[in-house]
Amino acid sequence: MQTVDWVQWLAFGILTLLTIGSALAVVIDRNIFHSALWLLVSLFGVAGLFVMLSAPFLAAVQVLVYMGAIVILIIFAIMLTRRLMGLTEALNTQWWVGGITAIVTFLVIAFVLFQAGQGANPILVREPIAALNGRGVEELGKALVDPAQYALPFELASVLLTAALIGSIVIAREDQ
């Protein structure tokens, strides 16, 4: 087992670097269009992590929904409001407090994780099962439409999407 571990670590490292690095670029890059592209890369990294976690369906959906739809939507919005793309100042006055807050938040989370790891919290040290035998997608589909599980929230989600669709059209429509 030890022999293969480093490969996984390598893949994990690359994906993490991709994700975190480009996420940083998203919030740092002054050019908002580049920000959006970095967001794309970051989301791609997360999709890779999903694959590592044996959730290929989610990875595909991530690519489809986020990269194919949401980022394109964002880019559209940037273009539609592009008169302001040449902003000189990307950050507001409270950026450093925000930074400190973010760092402190991270430290708190890391501290909690560390504490839990010290105490050998059973949730954190449990080994994953070897393989899902390719049953993941099928089971996910069943769980979503099983009345005993998530059928109702699933239907509600579709209602939410419809509402969001109509709502955004109404909001963004030019007044007649």
Binding site: V4, P56, M67, G68, V71, M79, V137
Partner: protein, 426 residues
């Protein structure tokens, strides 16, 4: 191959990775290379024949090497990056465009054993990968720092995103019938080709692919005769060539997908044989099917007049999407009620009775699928009839209103400028 590498002492993960990589690269580059060599030639030849010309006939036998001449021209042209362009993005965009197309070939089943990677979410994979192509177009248009490019890109993206909707819904139909998203699984489930069971879905898929790949009659994105080139106006040399190649390969890819999803991919007599023979048979079937569909595409592309962008959008949102939604509902309904019972039919076939012998002649799976396919076909025909009636009525109504307008309108309103009435009296 994986086993062989592991036996050589390789790390199994790396072995898997390398094997997959090799498979994917081989499959993907095959599509690209084959197409650029023969496909382009074919495109020109067919276009020429339709237009009563000769087509390429100078370079090589029958002009076959014309492609290489073109390629040479592309490569040797000056590679310009405009000064105001966003350089990294400008350079990445063509790569993204071509990668989006090429990556689809990774899950394309050439034969039963010949597939780059048989993902369990194959259908979803190619949808999501294809959506990257949209991004390439958008980036190209934006990074060129040219308003024509940007407008072209926005128009192209609007069209691509719109036509993705009916395409995805029509892909759901084979996925639904096969019960899997794996491409090979879909092929294997087609004991009766889906095009016979659900011709409407096949039609919608084909049509939306025309829009998706920007072929006539949906080629307003490119519309060479009307527009400056559109989103790739600032591109030259090999980068322009990459866009061109991406577009050409995409259209063939869509035909191959059509073959896989609706016409049974590599299925055909002898394709199930073990080893190389089966692979060869499967390969041949797959390509002949793809080519037939591709010829259809070229035929349409060279004969049908171009639509306006608003007509194109209306056709998508007001016709294709509702039609395919209704179709999907109907198919889901029928598929739920009539689930093929393979075991029972197989058992009958094994039993040796007369019926069983008849079953064996046609193949038990075929027989088991038959009721569902017939029901689906009937449903499709009914939907088609309904749609036809609606279209007829709407055409009639429109005609009537046009007539009424014409009758009601005073004649002078028809003229460009109202005739000035001569002053009367003083």
């Amino acid at each position: 191959m994986i086993e062989a590498l592991v036996n050589l002492g390789w790390n199994p993960h790396i072995a898997t990775f390398v094997a997959l990589l090799l498979g994917v690269v081989a499959c993907a580059s095959f599509g690209l290379i084959w197409f650029t060599v023969i496909g382009l030639w074919l495109v020109r030849k067919v276009a020429a024949r339709v237009q009563d010309r000769m087509g390429p006939n100078r370079v090589g036998p029958f002009g076959l090497f014309q492609v290489f001449a073109d390629l040479g021209k592309m490569i040797t042209k000056e590679d310009i990056t405009p000064q105001g362009a966003d350089k990294p993005i400008f350079n990445i965009a063509p790569l993204l465009a071509i990668a989006a197309v090429v990556l689809i070939w990774a899950v394309m089943p050439f034969a039963k054993t010949l597939i780059g990677a048989d993902l369990s979410v194959g259908a979803l994979y190619f949808i999501s990968v294809a959506s990257l192509g949209t991004l390439g177009v958008l980036l190209a248009g934006w990074s060129s720092n040219n308003k024509y490019a940007l407008i072209g890109a926005l128009r192209a993206v609007a069209a691509l995103v719109s036509y993705e909707v009916p395409m995805v819904i029509s892909i759901l139909v084979p996925v639904l019938l096969a019960g899997t998203m794996s491409m090979n699984g879909i092929v294997e489930a087609q004991h009766i080709f889906y095009i016979f069971a659900v011709p409407l879905s096949a039609f919608v898929f084909f049509t939306s692919n025309l829009g998706e790949t920007g072929r006539a009659p949906f080629d307003v994105i490119e519309a060479e005769s009307e527009l400056v080139a559109g989103y790739n106006i600032e591109y030259t040399g090999i980068k322009f060539g990459m866009f061109q190649a991406a577009e050409f390969v995409h259209s063939f890819t869509s035909c191959a997908l059509m073959a896989v999803l609706f016409v049974g991919g590599w299925r055909g007599p002898g394709a199930e044989l073990p080893g190389l023979a089966g692979a060869l048979f499967g390969f041949i079937y797959f390509f002949s099917k793809s080519m037939v569909i591709y010829m259809l595409l070229l035929w349409i592309g060279n004969t049908v007049p171009r639509l306006r962008i608003d007509q194109m959008m209306a056709f998508n949102w007001k016709f294709l999407v509702p039609l395919q939604l209704v179709n999907l509902l109907a198919v889901a309904f029928v598929a739920k009620i009539l689930q093929p019972n393979y075991e029972a039919v197989r058992a009958t076939a094994e039993s040796g009775s007369t019926l069983g012998n008849i079953y064996r002649v046609f193949g038990p799976e075929f027989i088991a699928d038959l009721p569902r396919a017939i029901a689906l076909l009937i449903v499709n025909v009914i939907i088609l009839g309904g749609v036809g009636l609606m279209i007829r009525n709407s055409i009639r109504k429109e005609r009537a209103s046009v007539e009424a307008n014409r009758a009601a309108r005073p004649p002078y309103l028809g003229r460009r400028t109202p005739v000035e009435q001569p002053a009367v009296g003083d």
